[in-house]
């Protein structure tokens, strides 16, 4: 599936992979379990195993290259943090531990989310959250936000172009010199555009039956319970294994 737009491709996997068969629900469960485990695991080897699971996920989803780019930027950001902590705390012995924890906890957690975003389409995400009984009042804004992001960037560029035509260059220098003006000249046209987009979206959604007592029209979902159970089992077994191993090594 080829999708136009650089930003939009962040949220849509360009081709079908093994993880597409597993389904969004199992992927959400995996992201939640990685987030919880990355905070609760105490031993470094178990954290590394958890990180290994994110690498495996990236491989199965076919997004290894994008994952490596994310890791590269995370490492680049971790370096100034560690240097800053060394200067503030003055404790060189703790720097190694801090670097490990920055990498092991935050990067593992962030990797899981980024990989999930790279390998899940908005439609799959919304269906999975719907299955998890997330109310429409949260689901609809969420879908709107995901769909709106590419057009938002376009709108922002148009607002900036309009300002440049009027002799204002809304760059970083202008933002630092006149922060209040910067906010207002960007936010006012952006809000006006947002109101108009909301009107159009609402009209389109209501024409599909949203908000009516009969409910909206939906497309039938393709499900493969066998793969879902396989994925669910793998996540549960791996999580239990990590918790047991962490307790044993931590003793």
């Amino acid at each position: 599936m080829k999708v136009p737009g650089r930003t939009f491709r962040l949220f849509v996997s360009p081709r079908l992979s093994f993880l597409d068969l597993v389904g969004g629900r199992v992927k959400i469960l995996w992201v939640v379990s990685v987030a919880v485990l990355s905070l609760s695991l105490r031993t470094f080897s178990c954290l590394m195993l958890l990180f290994g699971s994110t690498l495996l996920y990236g491989f199965l989803a076919g997004v290894v290259r994008q994952h490596l780019i994310v890791l590269k930027y995370a490492a680049l950001l971790a370096v100034p943090a560690v240097v800053l902590m060394f200067f503030v705390t003055g404790d060189l012995s703790g720097v190694e531990g801090i670097a490990f924890r920055v990498f092991a906890r935050l990067v593992v957690m962030s990797s899981a989310g980024v990989l999930f975003a790279l390998s899940t389409s908005p439609r799959e995400l919304v269906r999975s959250l719907g299955w998890m009984r997330v109310p429409t009042v949260v689901l609809f804004p969420l879908t709107t936000a995901l769909r709106f992001i590419p057009s938002l960037l376009r709108d922002l560029e148009e607002v900036r172009d309009a300002l440049r035509l009027r002799g204002v260059n809304p760059g970083l220098y202008f933002a630092v010199r006149h922060p209040l003006w910067f906010f207002r000249i960007i936010l006012v046209p952006l809000t006006v555009r947002s109101v108009s987009i909301a009107d159009n979206l609402a009209a389109a959604a209501e024409s599909r039956g949203m908000g009516s007592p009969a409910g909206g029209s939906v497309f039938p979902e393709r499900r493969d319970v066998k793969y879902e159970l396989l994925g669910l089992g793998a996540v549960v077994v791996f999580s239990v294994f990590l918790i047991c191993m962490d307790r044993r090594l931590g003793m």
Binding site: V31, A35, V36, L39, V70, L77, P80, A81, L84, M85, V88, T89, G90, D91, G94, I98, R101, V102, R105, L106, M109, S110, A112, G113, V114, L115, F116, A117, T120, L125, V137, V138, F140, P141, L142, T143, T144, A145, L146, F148, I149, L152, F183, R184, L187, V188, L190, T191, V192, S194, V195, I197, A198, D199, L201, A202, A205, E206, M210, G211
Partner: protein, 184 residues
């Protein structure tokens, strides 16, 4: 949009909340680069932007629990692109607390008396939850706070002031839009 405390969200309200959440998410994505630099860093940079946009969303929709809904959507968006779970929880709790304050004083996101404190409450509660997680899970930034506790106090005070300032900017934008007849 509009319609009172007990009114339900219309499709237009939900679409507008979604659009504003998208704006918040994109701005947060850029500003969260300060995440690794100092404790509560993202909230100092994102706080005013979040407060301004949240105030715009709440004052446009003007229905009970709008801020909490914006917080839930932004939190969910952040979680799905890899933001640490404790930051997501902090955002949801912060927005919820700000909304609870507005409900408690019985306002409808109408004036500066409810919107400006809501911006401050949102920032300070979010920062407090982030610090709570730093302490509970011994996260890396904790070493900075332990070495210089004044950093934590400075971040809390600075974050709150910036939150109120952001809410004030949002309120000014809403006043302009009300005068132009775009928002009720």
């Amino acid at each position: 949009m509009g319609g009172g405390k007990g009114a339900r969200f219309t499709t237009r309200d939900l679409a507008f909340i979604g659009v504003v959440s998208g704006v918040m998410f994109v701005s947060g994505f850029v500003l969260s680069l300060t995440h690794h630099l100092f404790p509560g860093g993202p909230m100092l940079t994102q706080g005013p932007v979040y407060a301004a946009l949240a105030v715009i969303a709440a004052a446009t929709v003007r229905k009970a629990w709008t801020l909490a809904l914006v917080g839930a959507v932004v939190g969910l968006l952040k979680f799905l692109v890899g933001c640490p779970l404790f930051v997501v929880l902090a955002i949801v709790v912060g927005f919820g607390a700000a909304d609870a304050y507005v409900q408690l004083i019985g306002h409808r996101y109408c004036c500066s008396r409810c919107l400006l404190p809501a911006g401050g409450i949102m920032s300070i509660v979010t920062l407090l939850v982030v610090f709570l997680f730093l302490v509970l899970f011994e996260l890396p930034m904790m070493s900075v706070v332990r070495a210089h506790p004044v950093v934590a106090v400075g971040v809390l005070v600075g974050g709150t002031v910036l939150g109120v300032a952001g809410a004030w900017v949002g309120f000014r934008v809403i006043k302009e839009l009300r005068r132009a007849g775009i928002v009720e």
